[in-house]
Symmetry: C2
Subunit: 432 residues, 2 copies
């Protein structure tokens, strides 16, 4: 009998928890789910006989430790700031650790100890990061095996609203952590273009006309995602003159969001003296005169009702705080709405001895069933569920702190994902 501990029962954990419970009898697992909100954990486990629910405050080390002590493997679905403490506790108690968040320098520093403890700390094993790395590496290694030379690699991914549920002028609904939407791009982005390191500041990130064509889906806008450079060596493609990892959005989302950024409405700087002000009193001076805006922008801002008579109930707030609460309300997924994730890799290469260069594209489109069984929860949860099973069963035997860029890891996970209907569509064409 093995014990899997899942920390955090939020919206991205829904499919993960169900998948683990579905396999729990056959695998002889107990699945422990810990969350600050015990009722959320209960709801996600649905009274399954092999589920054990815990109320856990992740900021309390004792509570964390006593739960981790029960585990053979721990999956952290907590917000990023908690991962390091969880990981340290896993190391102390000699438990495997998995998460779907970006690997930090702090976590990387545990590598030696994790290795000597014969443990697997597998990070970035969700959607993005996660499926993106695995499918990228499979593509890159496939081209390399044929002797192809890569001149461009662009890896796009977006959590979007499916067209049939797209009924607002932002063409977006929130299917994940809403704070991250406010924070996205804050630090600007770095990538490589024409052999040059290119740095885009936050204010220039959102461009509705930086478009890419997704096979069978049409045009989407992309903006570069954080620091792409680090992945050049992780993907083993140092020296490729064009490389970027991006986020996909509807072009008009980028159009509207650029305006929000220009107006300073995503600023996290707090001001005081706001208690009892109306939203209009707060936002109107920032928004100013909209008469020379285009119809789309006006419809987008009108839709958010930022200039309402609603009263602000806190004294110290930032624009980002207020905007976030508005977006959570206005851009929420309704119960029957379907979200959608799109991933697209564009790989330009030249075969040995050929004069024409070629484009190879691999695209993945997953739609949610409703606001609970989202595409986001499926594509984050399934790789984690597949990976933890493979770690516990010894099929993934790699040790240390790492991300899934290795063939012995991604082959297993992608193979299982394909069996579960997470399939890439591949197209290839010569460049005339």
């Amino acid at each position: 009998m093995r014990n899997i501990v899942v920390l955090g029962a939020g919206r991205s954990a829904t499919v993960l928890i169900r998948k683990l419970l579905d396999e729990s009898t056959e695998q002889n697992w107990h699945v422990h789910v810990g969350d600050m909100d015990r009722s959320l954990a209960e709801q996600k486990t649905g009274g399954h006989p092999r589920a054990i629910v815990h109320r856990v405050d992740p900021s309390d080390p004792d509570q964390l430790r006593s739960l981790i002590d029960l585990a053979d493997a721990v999956i952290s679905m907590l917000p990023p700031p908690f991962h390091y403490d969880v990981a340290v506790s896993c190391l102390q108690h000699r438990k495997h650790f998995l998460n779907a968040s970006y690997l930090t320098e702090e976590l990387k520093s545990l590598h030696g100890d994790v290795l000597s403890s014969n443990l697997t700390f597998l990070c970035e094993i969700g959607l993005d990061p996660g499926i993106d790395h695995m499918s990228a590496m499979e593509m890159i290694n496939g081209i390399r095996a044929e002797g192809g030379e890569i001149f461009c690699f662009r890896s796009h991914c977006g959590g979007l609203v499916s067209p049939e549920s797209d009924d607002n002028p932002w063409h977006y609904k929130i299917s994940w952590n809403s704070r991250n939407i406010l924070l996205a791009g804050k630090d600007g982005a770095v990538y490589v273009e024409n052999g040059q390191r290119k740095k885009l500041p936050y204010a220039e990130l959102f461009d509705p006309l930086r478009l890419v064509e997704v096979p069978e889906m049409g045009s989407y806008a992309w903006y570069p995602n954080r620091d792409s450079l680090a992945y050049l060596s992780l993907y083993g493609i140092e020296g490729v003159p064009d490389f970027v990892r991006t986020t996909l959005r509807h072009p008009l989302f980028c159009h509207g969001w650029r305006k929000l950024v220009q107006l300073g409405l995503t600023s996290e700087v707090s001001t005081t003296g706001n208690l009892g002000k109306t939203m209009c009193e707060f936002f109107h001076p920032l928004i100013g005169n909209t008469s020379n805006w285009d119809d789309t922008l006006r419809a987008q801002f009108h839709y958010l009702e930022l200039e309402s008579e609603e009263l602000i109930t806190r004294d110290e707030v930032s624009c980002a705080d207020l905007l976030q609460s508005v977006l959570e309300q206005k851009l929420r997924l309704l119960p029957n709405d379907r979200d959608m994730i799109i991933m697209l890799h564009e790989l330009g290469y030249q075969r040995e001895g050929e004069t024409n260069r070629r484009w190879k594209k691999a695209s993945l489109v997953v739609k949610g069933d409703n606001a609970t069984d989202t595409a986001m929860a499926k594509t984050v949860g399934l790789p984690l569920a597949i990976a933890v099973k493979a770690v516990l069963n010894g099929k993934i035997s790699r040790r240390g702190v790492f991300i899934p860029v290795y063939k012995d890891v991604y082959k297993i996970v992608l193979g299982e994902l394909e069996k579960q209907g997470i399939n890439f569509l591949t197209t290839e064409q010569a460049i005339p």
Copy 2:
């Protein structure tokens, strides 16, 4: 035995001619094809035993007359300026007349005489105009029959390049008359929005962010097409507060084209003294400094090579002349390229006794097989072929000069188109 005369054997006539010849034995037709370029007519008829090829100069009334005299019905695929003379000749010789071009006031003026001669002059029976009217009327009449009240109708259509053949930064290839691309929108556009008559001048027509979502195809930009107002009464929807007919393009086409317009490069004003100048000498003063342009625009202009060292071989030319010849070269369909037409009707309505309003959408996507059997040739040619057969067989018995907005006409043509694979996809949803 009946004789059908097709005037003009250009690219839009390919499928029409083949379709008529395919049915010629069963229907006991002879198909006469007349073109200035006899070899083009020969190529399109491929030596079919029921095809008769003629060299015809359409500006020579005698040549026109002697050919029309052979006919039972005449289909004019000639450029618009020739239609009136052909029609007058058809009236004199008592022949039915069909074309796929916009009905002019001049042609309309023949209505009384055509009617009293018991003839059918069916115009706008191609794609756009043509299939758009027929499918629009079927949709509108369907809603009306259910007692629904229409508050919005937008009818979009574009002749585009299919995504798998889209390999240039304009995201466009020419699948029809290239002069029309230069002329498109020159007179601005008039439509209705929020109950107001809206007039857009040429300079404001092309906007990459005026987007619409095409089911299963993604986002396309639209620009209003000529004078939509006239169609309010033709469609029987006077008083609908939002109504527009549009042209669809890739958003980045509109982005680049707007710049061409802004720079005056679509101007038809001729200048002299150009013989022996280089293209660069001609265009550089107009284009000026591009350093503050975005990457897309730079890539688009670079692709056209307007600032080349190529010599201009005429003394008197306009920007539009030179631009057209460049576009014909750079944006041509290669032999295996596939064009694509997209048509989309968006109809907003409210059912009697319901509080929610609803959107009904009907979309049509047709792809070409290659640069000869284009989607454009199929969707222009098939309605004409179906209609001429129905006129000759008495299934269309309406007389006078008219366009296919009448149920007795569109039911026959749409029914046949559906049998031949030209199917609309219909979606419907309540507005929350």
